[in-house]
Symmetry: D2
Subunit: 135 residues, 4 copies
């Protein structure tokens, strides 16, 4: 199964700010949508992860902005899993200008697995395999 | 106890859009913060309402925008309860330019009381009294 | 040309709140995206409207929430123009659960045409025709 | 003049997500509000920076989340300038639980100075001095 998943959508007007470009916090929401699509493209969903009694809390975000994104343009979020451990996973991203394939931003996020009580716990086996843990 | 409560804060940069003014959806969040402050000023909190096992779901929002708000200016949310029934409450608002007391927007919101299962239910007596139900 | 345009997307996780459902302000952003798609489906874009030297400022939003929307589900925004005048336009909306076609929310928004100086002005003829002004 | 500036506010309900805690993207907006307050506390404003014909575009965000923040609690953003160069500046932050002074998140952001045409340019002398450039 391919590890790199893409999702494409139009930039929303509400995501712009008075600089005339997309506000930097909007990208953080886009990364999350990239993760959601990664799950869907791999036959499940993060909603299912939570139904199974687990949560993936974000513990770290690192993002570099290369070029500004603009209202109405199409952007593509390219998302893949990087390091997968029993209790945490790192995801990587490129935010792409869909039309000309240039990179608008590069990012990584780290996530810790919590149970319903908010305690750090190991991810279930099926989720670790899905995410691509090396064995 | 006064029914009209005010809360004042600076407009955040993220709340602007490429028109150079505050995006209209940001006001909806401000109204909610006006409600939160209403609760706090009356000696409790909406957090307590949820701890008591109830939720106030928004069933309707009506808002008229009079003048644009701008980054960095101070805005005041003036909030009061209007019609209070056993299962629902209407709140009213003025969004004010703090410096010159002009009205930027006028709004009302309706809320339905739900229990933890998401079913419509009567508000507890103490909350109806707090909100000002006429008896 | 059909006046009613639909756009469909997944609910984003960031759009939920601690009630476990979509926060009511997120719908306001969805309506805007419905308007953006209306423009695109009619062969132009709101970006072009601004390039032409005009802005459509939101002067009023009225929305009724019927049922809660949830993370990861698909929602469809159905958008059509209602009353079109020289200086203002009213848009109507239904927010739909894509899977079973039930209505999650109904809304209308009013917009005033401004020039680049922020003054109320008549919409250009081509835009009034596009929006469907009756003559 | 002290370089570390604090600003305190209540967590907004809209900033929570269905995990029952503050969504990680909300912190990014808080950092920005910390920067805004830094400017105000130093006798000016970022609004003035833009009026002077410059913009500070965000080129990088790095944030580590230590503990979850919750609706209605008070959080304090502690913000200071780190490295100041002619064309860029690094800001650092701690997001604090106001009540017990524990750290909820630590972050840094990098900013590049642009002119009104979006070109990288040197910051005016008065702004470099304000930000604390070592000479």
């Amino acid at each position: 199964m391919p590890n790199t998943i893409e999702t494409t959508f139009h930039v929303r007007y509400a995501e712009t700010d008075q600089m005339g470009v997309v506000h930097h916090a909007a990208y953080i929401v886009w990364l999350e949508e990239g993760r959601s699509e990664w799950m869907r493209a791999n036959g499940t969903s993060y909603a299912q992860f939570e139904k199974d009694g687990f949560m993936l809390a974000v513990s770290e975000v690192n993002i570099r902005y290369r070029q500004a994104a603009h209202y109405d343009q199409q952007v593509t979020i390219r998302c893949w899993t990087d390091e997968v451990r029993s209790r945490q996973v790192t995801m990587c991203y490129e935010v792409i200008d869909t039309e000309n394939d240039t990179i608008l931003a590069e990012a990584s996020t780290k996530h810790i697995c919590l149970n319903v009580n908010g305690q750090v716990t190991s991810m279930p086996e099926k989720w670790r395999q899905l995410l691509g843990e090396e064995t």
